[in-house]
Symmetry: C2
Subunit: 319 residues, 2 copies
């Protein structure tokens, strides 16, 4: 089969044997994958990664122990927990210290013709969600995670910093939840997408001070955290979403003096994400900057790294 392969900071398409599924796992055939910033970071060597990336996907189930699954269009949760440790038994398998992670940690990813995942990780996609929307399930779940961690009251003003892919999804998800979101970004064309979803937008060259009880840092930039501390009111909450591969300089004094809470936030549950995708309330078509065949993955990854580009999709077969 074809598989995207990263090794020593280089990406190529290689031929590989089709994987064999373990008991309790399904064999999946890729339909569509989405390139995430994490994939680009894997390529850039931040984690010493070598292997097949890809964790945002829609696939068809080919073989499974679960008779309900073959032939179904699915997406899936990316963490493969041990299901035995204390974290797993508390329902927090996403934090299992023994977990592998699809396309990130010791489990081959979705950017290949075929791959495997445990049946429990799979979510059948409702027919009314088109594949090019369903492929956003994983990052939408990551945005929904904020609402599992922080009780944001309806109509509460919320600042989202950063108009990249994640910032745009977070702004839309929180707006759909009922918050009054303002997205701060640098790109007029991207802010326009958020406005179509009812989100207020501001160019982020001058941020207000101590203006929001809730803010989300999704800039992907090393000065984003300082900006978030500035925009947040005393006793307010900052949700940290964007990993930056440098140590970020943080002035802890205003965090302490203003008793601000910072909450790291990562993957989320897929159920609320699929519900939201089904509602059709998210503006996703405009977030797709380009689409390629899986066999064109090197070009797709080059495109995904161009400035201003949002989501790039990889299709196994472009019909």
């Amino acid at each position: 089969m074809n598989a995207v392969h990263i090794a020593a900071g280089r990406l190529s398409l290689i031929r590989r044997p089709t994987p064999r599924r373990q008991p309790g796992h399904s064999l999946l055939r890729l339909v569509c994958g989405g390139i995430c910033n994490t994939d680009i970071e894997l390529l850039r060597g931040y984690y010493g990664f070598s292997g097949t990336p890809g964790h945002e996907f829609v696939a068809e189930v080919l073989e499974s122990d679960d008779p309900r699954l073959p032939g179904r269009r699915v997406t899936g949760e990316i963490n493969l927990p041990c299901r035995r440790c204390g974290w797993c038994l508390r329902g927090l398998g996403r934090h299992c210290p023994h977990r592998t992670v699809l396309g990130i940690v010791k489990h081959p990813g979705a950017f290949s013709d075929f791959f495997t995942l445990p049946d429990e990780n799979l979510h059948v996609i409702p027919n009314t969600i088109p594949t090019q929307h369903a492929v956003f399930a994983e990052p939408v779940a990551a945005a929904c995670e904020i609402l599992d961690q922080v009780r944001i009251p309806k109509a509460a003003p919320v600042a989202v910093l950063g108009d990249g892919k994640l910032g745009l999804l977070i702004a839309q998800v929180l707006q759909a939840h009922g918050a009054q979101v303002t997205l701060y970004g640098r790109h007029k064309s991207k802010l326009k997408i958020a406005r179509a979803a009812g989100v207020a937008t501001e160019i982020s060259n001058k941020l207000p001070r101590a203006a929001y009880d809730y803010s989300v840092e999704a800039t992907g930039s090393s000065d984003g955290l300082t900006a978030a501390v500035q925009i947040t009111r005393p006793r307010g909450t900052i949700i940290l979403k964007s990993t930056v591969h440098d140590r970020v300089p943080l002035d802890t004094a205003p965090v302490i003096v203003n008793e601000i809470t910072l909450i790291g936030s990562r993957c989320g549950r897929f159920e609320p994400a699929l519900k939201l995708l089904k509602s059709g309330r998210l503006q996703l078509d405009q977030m797709i900057s380009d689409q390629f065949a899986l066999t064109d993955a090197p070009r797709a990854f080059a495109r995904a790294q161009e400035p201003g580009v949002l989501k790039v999709l990889l299709w196994r077969q472009i019909l």
Copy 2:
């Protein structure tokens, strides 16, 4: 009257007119003051401070509109809020943006023969608390603030990082609350004080990883935050107590991946602090490294800056 005075990074004893109290304020005569790290930072010029420092004190009320106060031994809250803004009306005057702060922001401090504070700031000290313990009310209140911000279950293991004055008080306060505290520090003599209060201690040359659901950063050092992130379990909470006058390098990746919560924590209510001081459960006598007359303040400040020195007290009259 005599007053300690800081200007341009120098500390001296000056003569000043006795202050006149405004309506609603009491005129206080210092009994005893405690030198805090913040006072030393003011001297070092971190805030462009000029004036009389001092915000940890026991005083006698000389004049007041409140007939219950004259003659009483008091300590007092250090924030002077406007009492009119939204913060003040919500009972969060400690975050009032218009506040002045005793000995720190635009209100002359306690290291003088006489000073003033609003009657509402004052707390009469129960007779059973000796003055050399009552002078710890402000930092003990800052330690108690943690329990107002975070629900720490009884018997929960908690790591406190840093065996300076604040770390020692925090460890003792959380232990008295019922948590199972381990204090990590570098000084055997200081850790011994914590042990006398029932706190477990460890030399901090090698910290465990992902071992605590709750940790408190009180090292006063720029690598304390990284250590706190390391020692804290996924979904755990780090309370940030020590301000550092540099930007602290923070690797946000483990904070996000492990969904850790960081909470800035500053001043606290005096009621629980005085209750705890009254209980006699805190080991405070061993935390007093030296005592001086107010008129010896320059020597006292020099002493307070020596390595390994804990609390230095300033007495208006050494009897």
